[in-house]
Structure formats: C-alpha cells, structure tokens
C-alpha cells in the first residue's frame, strides 16, 4: 500500500490511498478456524469475510491490528474472532484450578454500546456453543456484581475508558489483568481525539506493562491518517518492555517468577522482528495485498505500527442537497424554510434519522416538525441533555421500528444498531466530510446497499459547504482532525492512579508513559514536573511538602501518603468535566414548593439563571414554564400562552468547519465553472457578488470595507471556522483600537468576520494607517494573544477543566452545588492567583495548550495568517456587498459574551441612574 497526496497544501490532511499487489485469496484458507466456527458459518449459509480471516491471521501471529471498515461490515465479529477461536480451544479448567483472569477486554466510548455488544456477541457464542462468559462493567453495574467480577472474572469484559482507569488504579490491578490476551477498542476514531483518548492510551500502556505480549485490536471508521491509529495501538518506546538487565519478569502479586513473554529487546539497535507463531501470515514478505471484496491488508513492517486492514466502503451512498422550492435564507441555522419538504420526505420513507449540529437546533426542528405533523407520525427527539430513561425509551422504540423519524444530535453518531433507517436527513451543514460520511453510515447497516441521504443547508453559505462535503464524500476524502499531544492534566490523573494501585518507580513509569503514542514525545523534565505536581502541587513556593499526596520512600518508590487520597481519586476519575447543570423537574403549575415530579433532563446552570419565573422555554420537545430554581433543580410546569419562547443555548457542541471543507468552499467560490452544481438562487448570489465587489482567488483573503448607517464596517472572509474567527476578531479589534480606528465590536461566523467602528477603516487601510498587511500580521499571535488570553473567560473555563482532571479541585456532584460555592475555592479565583504568582505553572501550561488547540483554534489561525501573507485583497465599497449580508445579519443576534460583563453592568446601572437620578448610588453623594 502506498499513498500520495493530491498536490493540496502540505498541511491538508487529504490523502488518497491505492492498494497494490493483489494477493491470491485462496491463501486465506490456511488461516486456522476451529471446527465449531466452520460449522456455524456453514449453518448460517455464510462464509467468513476476508477481513475477518485476515485479522485473525495477524492476531494469531502475535500482532496488534487496526481494522478500518464501514458500518455493517461485520467489524465486531472480526474484532472478537481471535478471542473466540482462542477461547474455543482453551483446555477446560481442571478441578481445583483457580479462576482464570480476564482474557479479553473490550472498550467502547459509550455504555450503551457495551450493552449492545453483550447482546450481539452473546448470540453467536451461544450458537457456536462456546464455553465463554461475557459481562459488562459500567458506571451502572451494581457494587455486588463488580465485587464478584473481581473474584470470578468473566472471559470477556465489556467496559468504558473510565472503568478501565478505575480497574488499573485498584491495588489488585496487576493480578486482575495477568491473564489478559487481547484488548479491543471499538470506535477507536472517536476515542482517540479527546482527553479521554489520552487517558485510555495511558491505560493501554499500563496493561502492556502487566502483560508485555498483549495484542491490541482497534476497530475504526475511515480516518484521514490511519498510521496515527496504528501507532496508538502499539508501544512507541522500545525500552518500555525490556526487562531490566535480562532478569525474568517478576509478578509481585504472587511472588512467583515466570519467564518473560516480552519480545526480544531492540536495545542493541537491531530491527525487531514481529514475533510470529503457529501460522505464517499469508502476507509474509509482502508489503500489502488486496483481498477479495475491497479488503486490503498490510502487516506491520515497523514494530511501532499495528497491522492495518482496510475494508472499502460498500455501495456509494445516494446523497443529494435539497433544491428547495423556497427561498434559502441569508443567515440563521433553523432551516425552517424547508420544514414542509423535510416532512414530505419523512412521509415517503420508513424511518428517517434527522441529524442536527446542536441541541438547540434539535429542539427547534422537533417543534417545527410536530407543527407540520398532520398525520401525527411518531417522531421522537434524542439529545445528550435529555433524561437517560427517556433516551433509552427512544432508542428502544427505534430498534423496534416503532418510530418514523428521530431528531438527533451527535449522541447518536456512534455505531449503535438502529432498526431500519432508510433515510438520513442532515439539517445544517455537516462541518466535516468524515463526519458526514459517518452519520450517513447510520442510515443503513447492510454495507452492500446504498445509504440515502439528503442535506438541508440552513443558509446560503451552507449550500456551498454542503456541496463541498458532498463532493468530498463522493471521492472518499477524509478530514478527521489530527491527533493532539497527550494532555498534562490527564497525565497527572494517571500518575496519581498508578500510585493508588501500587508504589511506582519514576524511571520505569516514564518509560511506560512514553510508550503511549500521545505521550511519545514527552520529555523527562516535563514528566518530573507533573510528578511533582501530583506530589505537592508543584509550586515554586515549596510550602506544601508536609501535605504531599505521594511521597518518595527510602527505596525510591513513590507511594500514596494516605488511604484517603485513593478514595478521593476514585471519585474524581475521568476526563469529562461537565458545565454545572441543573435537573429540569416537571411539576404542576404553581407547585414549586412541593416535591416529586418527573425529571426531563438537564440544562446548564447559566441558562437557568437567566430565566424569570413565568418565562417559557423549549426543552425535551415541550414548551415549559419556568417556576424557579430549588437547590440543584430547575422547576418547570406546562407552558404555553402568547409569551415569547426561549430556546436554551448549550456550551460547546458547535463544531467548526473543517480545514478541508473550508478550502473546498474557497475553491468553489473562485471557480465559476462549478457554480452550475449549485441551486440557481445561490448561483445568482455569487454572480451578483462578482458584479458588485469581487470574489477572492482560492488562496486569497478578501477584505471589504463599507459604510452603513452611521457606522463603518470591515468584513473579512477567511473561512476558517467560528472559533478561529472569534479569536481573530478579538485580536483585530485590539489592534484597531491601538491604531485609533475606534472599533466598536465584531461578530464572527464559520465563514466570515465583521468588525464595525466609528472611523472609515477603508480609508485608514488605504493610507497604510495601518496597512492590512500589518493588521493581519502573524505577530498578533504573540503579545496581543497573550494579553487577551490571560483575561479571557474561555481560558478560565478551560483551567477549571484542567484543574478537575488533574485532581487539583474536586468534581461537583449533584446536591453539592449550594454548599460547594462557600466551602471550596472556585477555579476562577485559583486561576487569578496562580496566574499572577506563578504564570509558568504546569497547569497553566496545560490550559494554554488546550486553548491553542481547542476553543481558540490558534493553530488554525496561525496557518491562515501565514497562508494569506501578501495575498490580502482589499475592496472599498459604497455599500454592503451580497457576500457580506449573512454576517451582517448576525450582528446583534447573538448574545454578548462573557468579556462584556462590565459593559452589561454599566448598562444596568445607567438605566437605573436615568430612571431614578444619581441619588441612588450615593445615598448622599
């Protein structure tokens, strides 16, 4: 297999793959499949698929493997086949022999998925007649069952990343996992992109320390860079498993000495040969081979890469963009204009899955659909803030084919088995080509039949974006985000967890940690600082030595100082830090004081705080009347009436436009020959823009300036996504202010950015005061960014997350909120104090790294600024241009953000002063 890029910018993540060297398929017959399996496949009238046999072969050869396959390709069975065949041939347990440990660990991002797999795997196991026990272990597993699992472990344990972290932090961890042969990661592409993935990678490294020849199997949807996942699955540090000075590994839990299972060390610099046993892989000696049915495979030629098996997508999905009879709006995200057409599509299909990008959009769309639902079709709503019970009911109804349509957010993105969906409607732009492909994959679980999907752009720019995504989907382009370096707050959590299990040696732990792909580049000094942080907070002022959480013993091992530390650790495990939320409890109107009533789900605290009793808001598909806040609950009753209905907004959940799609949209704008694929009204819009202003070349940045009413505007079109634009907006306004251009504010969308002010910025730019080149100079990412960042509420929010993950402050639990505020110290206060006294503290470093990568998208902004250097096209206009309309419509629509609190206070105080005179503030001024 080889790869070549398509001559796109070097940083583009778009790669095209071609498989070379076909391999005769009959060789797969050499792979050993135990007799009961052969019989089972025969009774089913099936044949094992090529990728299933290939995976078996590679795993049997002792290799870790990544399987990339579309939904419906039999991925799960493939992943478990090595386990099941091995267990089938395992000798029966002799009387008196102790219980065997876990043989295979399966880890999925969702509890629901683990439960689903238990059901789906149980069936073949039973039919083949295998003596295999399968159990789940999640947050919902009762304590007595967990305890029993520790004593009598199942052969296969299905669990989540958080549970794995808990298991390896237990004092019996090494013994519990000593029989482990396989670990299977499902939906690996979605696990690896977050801090959850970092914690999981560290967990895998720990497991490899327990069991050096452990084989990892990753199951994934198509990604842009499979090698990143291949590295993730195997050790990146050749030193890691080398037993010290040729001594046999000692299993301390039982005190017995057993020969090491570690593959030969490559400490002497020679290339290590992947250990192979029993059967020679049919691929031996070849780089890659093509198997039947679009399957290609390459064994690991490098021992820092897992083997790779790729199954090409099944039938091409049938995707179209809605060419609406109605006028596509300039701006907005509701797609309300297309409701009649969406409803018609639902009527014409058996089951329709409607995806939206945010929970607010889900609520709105659901409401609009029911308004149009003349036939009273069963249409349901599913998003992450709804009560779990409600979500399970919807999922079950869907699996039973009792629903005609489900409005859902990304909570339904992952591979749960969903009845017979025959249409996917994507409302709003997909934001990424790979995201779109994965969502459409939901439509049909039989890979050989085409999925059918309709994209509904909510505004005109989204038409362009949908078109770009559709083209990308057609050619199979992938734009999954690149993996990030391991976060230091996660590492701190893992180090404390390691100490909770047993005292550790820092040298050995460093080797282990750097064997995990996300931490492969971690330097020893940083690692030691994190250990120091875990021990005493890592402050330059060494005043907490006597309160240390872990301390070095005389033997040089780091040991937990108090059992309480381990208890606290277990309560605070994990990397998912929620914003403070309130339960939404439904009561009879006016009955705030009473108890009882149904919980509908959760809203974020800051939203509930903006409501007044009597306000109506949309939640869980209902119009609710806000009654009040009681402890940690938001009390509501049935709403209605003529008052305005508010839609809750949720932090996060808004994905920025992918770099790949952004580039495609710019390309489309620059190329009038491609406009005919767009709806006529959109084509007209672009044509008009070309007449009245200009359309930028693909690599250029267009900046328009024009007056309107008594203000002057500057609109720039970087197409780099809302996050990067917000950061850019903050920095530009700072600079304009310094240049005395008197900016008043800005607004950012995924596509463009508008700044307004009192002075004619066009004239200033023309006179070079400042020039646009200077205004957009990359140096804005230096001091300006630093200065702004430090005061940013976004950074404070991220600091809180880091502080919780790193174990500096504890998670908030329901019911604790009220008292919590007074007893503990808020993360904001800690941030302020730490920043002014020790700005280089490791936790601030971790926070800044998060900010640069995530919320602020600084790296993307940096790429953009370097790309457009010398390529800024300035167009001075007398009036607003057609392309500027969408962003101009956003002005004043979105609420003012955290930074402007001071302004809001001033406004409120001014109002009071205006109404009541200046007397109030002074009493006697």
């Amino acid at each position: 297999m080889f790869q070549f890029s398509l001559g796109l910018p070097a940083r583009s993540r778009y790669l095209w793959r071609v498989t070379a060297k076909p391999r005769p398929t009959d060789e797969s017959a050499e792979i050993r499949l135990p007799e009961p399996f052969v019989r089972w496949f025969a009774t089913k009238g099936w044949a094992p698929r090529a990728h299933q046999m290939e995976l078996l072969a590679q795993a049997q050869a002792g290799q870790s493997v990544l399987l990339i396959a579309p939904t419906g390709a039999g991925k799960t069975l493939a992943g478990f086949l090595p386990t099941l065949t091995e267990l089938a041939e395992r000798p029966k347990r002799r009387p008196g022999e102790g219980h065997r440990g876990i043989h295979t660990l399966y880890i999925s991002p969702l509890k629901a998925l683990a439960v689903d797999i238990e059901r789906n795997l149980g069936k073949p196991v039973e039919e083949i007649g295998l003596p295999v026990t399968i159990e789940t272990r999640t947050g919902d597993t009762p304590a007595h069952k967990r305890q029993r699992q520790k004593l009598v472990p199942p052969d296969i344990l299905l669990t989540t990343p958080e549970q794995l972290a808990l298991l390896i932090a237990a004092s019996d961890a090494r013994r519990f996992f000593e029989d482990l042969r396989y670990v299977i990661f499902d939906e690996l592409h979605s696990l690896v992109t977050s801090k959850r993935g970092h914690l999981l990678a560290l967990g895998l490294a720990r497991l490899r320390t327990f069991v050096p020849d452990l084989r990892a199997i990753g199951l994934s949807a198509t990604v842009a860079e499979p090698d990143e996942l291949r590295r993730w699955l195997v050790s990146q540090n050749p030193l890691h498993h080398a037993p010290p000075s040729g001594l046999p590994a000692i299993s301390p839990s039982r005190g017995e000495i057993r020969p090491t299972l570690a593959p030969p060390s490559i400490a002497d610099g020679r290339e290590r040969v992947a250990p192979r046993k029993l059967l020679i892989s049919p691929l031996e000696g070849e780089m890659a081979g093509r198997l039947e049915g679009g399957v290609s495979a390459s064994p690991a030629k490098d021992d820092r890469l897992a083997g790779l098996i790729t199954v090409a997508g099944g039938a091409k999905p049938d995707i179209s963009i809605l060419d609406s009879r109605e006028r596509v709006p300039w701006a907005g995200h509701s797609a309300r204009y297309a409701i009649a057409e969406i409803y018609e599509a639902i009527r014409q299909h058996k089951t329709t899955l409607l995806f939206v990008n945010t929970r607010s959009q889900a609520e709105l769309l659901f409401q609009e659909l029911w308004r149009a639902n003349e036939d009273a079709l069963p249409i349901a709503l599913h998003h992450g803030s709804l009560d779990v019970g409600q979500r399970r009911r919807v999922e079950k109804a869907m699996a039973d084919n009792a629903l005609r349509a489900i409005v859902a957010t990304s909570t339904l993105d992952l591979g749960i088995d969903w009845g017979d969906v025959d249409l996917v409607v994507h409302v709003g732009a997909p934001k990424g080509a790979s995201r779109l492909a994965q969502r459409i994959g939901r439509a049909n679980h039989r890979m050989d039949e085409p999925s059918k999907a309709v994209l509904i752009p909510a505004n005109r720019f989204e038409v362009l974006e949908c078109r770009a995504a559709l083209d990308a989907n057609y050619i199979g382009a992938q734009d999954t985000p690149p993996l990030l370096d391991g976060a230091l707050d996660v590492l701190a959590q893992h180090i404390l967890g390691t100490a909770c299990a047993a005292p550790f040696d820092a040298d050995l732990l460093y080797e282990e940690v750097t064997s995990a792909a996300p931490y492969a580049g971690l330097d020893r000094q940083t690692f030691d600082r994190v250990v120091d942080f875990v021990a005493t907070g890592g402050y330059a002022l060494k005043s907490y030595e006597r309160y240390a959480r872990i301390r070095r013993t005389r033997e040089g091992l780091w040991r937990v100082t108090h059992p309480r530390i381990a208890q606290q650790y277990r309560l605070n495990i994990g990397t998912i830090v929620e914003m403070p939320e309130l339960n939404v409890r439904y009561v009879r109107q006016g009955r705030v004081a009473g108890y009882g009533g149904r919980v509908l789900g959760k809203v974020e605290e800051y939203f509930a705080e903006t409501l007044r009793p009597g306000d109506n808001f949309l939640f869980a598909g209902k119009v609710l009347r806000f009654e009040g806040i009681r402890e940690n609950e938001c009390i509501v009753s049935g709403g209605g009436g003529k008052t305005q209905i508010i839609v809750p907004s949720y932090a996060g959940g808004k994905f920025p436009l992918s770099t790949y799609l952004a580039d495609q949209v710019r390309a489309m704008l620059a190329d009038p020959d491609r406009w005919h694929t767009l709806p006529e009204q959109v084509e007209d819009w672009l044509r008009l823009q070309r007449e009245k202003s200009v359309l930028p070349m693909r690599g250029d940045l267009l900046v328009e300036t024009f007056p309107r009413a008594d203000r002057h505007y500057m609109v720039a079109y970087p197409f780099e996504g809302r996050l990067a634009h917000q950061t850019l907006g903050m920095l530009l306004t700072r600079r304009l202010e310094r240049a005395n251009a008197r900016p008043l504010g800005f607004v950012a969308t995924d596509y463009s950015l508008a700044v307004w002010g009192l002075d004619d910025m066009g004239a200033l730019f023309a006179a070079g005061k400042p020039s646009l080149g200077a205004l957009f100079d990359e140096d804005m990412l230096g001091d300006d960014l630093e200065a702004w960042l430090n005061d940013s509420w976004m950074l404070k929010r991220m600091f809180r997350t880091c502080a919780v993950i790193a174990g500096l402050i504890e998670k908030r639990f329901p019911g604790q909120e009220k008292t919590g505020r007074q007893v503990t110290v808020s993360a904001d206060l800690i941030y302020d104090v730490l920043r002014s006294h020790e700005p280089d503290h490791i936790l601030l470093q971790a926070t800044r790294a998060d900010a640069a990568a995530g919320l602020l998208d600084v790296s993307r902004l940096a790429d953009m600024l370097s790309r457009i250097r010398g390529r800024i096209v300035h167009k001075r206009l007398d009036q607003i241009s057609p392309l500027a309309v969408p962003v101009m419509l956003e002005i004043g629509k979105e609420s003012v953000n955290g930074e402007a609190n001071e302004t809001l206070l001033m406004e409120a105080a001014d109002l009071v002063e205006e109404a009541m005179g200046a007397g109030l503030a002074g009493g006697s001024r």
Binding site: Y547, R612, T733, E737, I809, H837, S895, L904, A908, V912
Partner: protein
C-alpha cells in the same frame, strides 16, 4: 460572538452613608470612612490555601500573598489611622501560626503606626498568634458598631461581614454576578476580601430579616468602579 467595546472614564469611588456616616465604597472591596480615618476590611481568610492543603487539596499557596498585596495597596492609598479587620481574618485558628515569616513581616509593616483591630470571627475566634493589634468581639466607633456576624433584626449603624455577599443581575439575557457591598442606609454588609473567598447571593435566605427590602442597594464591584443596583433589579441564585 458580539462584543461591544466602550471606554468610560474611571469614576471616583462611590460615596455612601451608613447611619449618617460618610464612607467610600471602594471597588477593591474596602470601606473607608474619611471623617474617622478608618478603613474596614472583612473576611481576609488568610492561609485558606494551606488550610485546604492540609486536607489534600493542594491549591496554590499564594492566596496570602495576593490578599496582603491588595490590602497593602488600599492602605497605601488611604493611609488610615484605624484599620478594622472584620473577622475571619484567618481561615482557621492555626492560620496565624502557619503564616510564612515574609508575610508576617509584611503584615506587621502594614500595622505599624496605626490602630489595628482584629474582630473575632467564627473561623478565628481567638487572637491571632504572635501578631500585634487588639482582638475584640465588636467595636463601636462614632454612631457605628463593627462586628463579624450581622445581628438579627433591624440594627442601626452596623458594619458587618461574614456572609460574603454577591449580587446577580440579568441584562440582555446574560447573567452577571459580582461580589458586592449590601446596604440599606443603616446597615452595611461588606464583601469578602480574601483571594480565595467565595460568595453568597444577597437574596439568599441567610440574609432574611437583615435589610429593609425597599431600600436595599447592592454595590456591585466592577473592575474600576462600583455599580449601585437597587434590590428590585437583583436575581436570586
């Protein structure tokens, strides 16, 4: 995201009256009575960081430094003859004995040349170890009484702390919460000054019966000025 940018001249600190005594309500969280040359500050909670560290929460040990630096700034500005620390000056009874020598020296320098009163608080009922100043339960000056916990019911001329008041308003659909001075003309409850102190909404039931609701004003602390907002505009929670 929308951001309105507005520049305003910094207003002088607001003047208020408590039972007829004029005071400057300083946005940094202190109350200064010019006629009495008296500065009141409340709930310093010094050594809260080390207090929590003893229980395993290793939050940065810089709160005492931060609090003292701010205190130093206001004392330098007003140069008061009398300073009253309204209780909970230390987060716990041993706080003063944990005080780093540098901080002890800084504190002593601040105290030098003026009358310094430690009001006993619930966190620090006894006199702070090895520090000058006089420790009292409450202190009467002119028409005012300074004490840590506000007394129940109507009390003319009281300045207290303990409750860590904050206030919240909603403007343009956004919630803004700030620490505040809470007063109704006859009683003033001061915001907590310490770097690690949290706050409690003035509409919470802990404040029940303390204020005449009609004349309650929350003096919310802005970056450079105080925003005076009447009780009717405030929100609970």
């Amino acid at each position: 995201m929308n951001l309105a940018i507005r520049t305003t001249a910094i207003l002088p600190a607001d003047l208020v009256t408590v039972a007829g005594e004029r005071a400057v309500c300083d946005p940094r969280g202190v109350l200064y009575f010019p006629e009495l040359s008296l500065l009141a500050v409340s709930d310093l909670h010094l050594e809260k960081g080390s207090s929590l560290a003893r229980r395993g929460a290793l939050i940065p040990p810089y709160d005492t430094a931060a609090t003292l630096a701010r205190l130093q700034a206001v004392i330098a500005d007003y140069a008061p003859r009398i300073v009253i620390s309204l209780g909970d000056s230390f987060h716990d009874g041993e706080g003063a004995s944990r005080l780093h020598d540098d901080f002890r020296e800084r504190l002593e320098q601040l105290m030098a040349g003026r009358d310094w009163f430690w009001i006993a608080g619930n966190h620090d009922p006894d006199a702070p170890a090895d520090l000058p100043g006089e420790t009292v339960r409450e202190l009467a000056v002119a028409s005012l009484v300074f004490r840590h916990e506000p007394s129940k019911g109507q009390a003319g001329g009281e300045v207290a702390g303990h409750l860590h008041p904050c206030a919240r308003i909603v403007q343009r659909g956004r919630s803004v919460r700030r620490r505040c001075f809470a007063g109704d003309g006859s009683r003033m409850i001061m915001p907590a000054f310490g770097a690690y102190t949290g706050s409690l909404n003035v509409l919470d039931r802990a404040y029940a019966g303390l204020f005449n609701r009609e004349s309650l004003v929350a003096y919310m602390m802005g970056k450079d000025r105080i925003f005076a907002l009447p009780g009717a505009m405030l929100r609970a929670g």
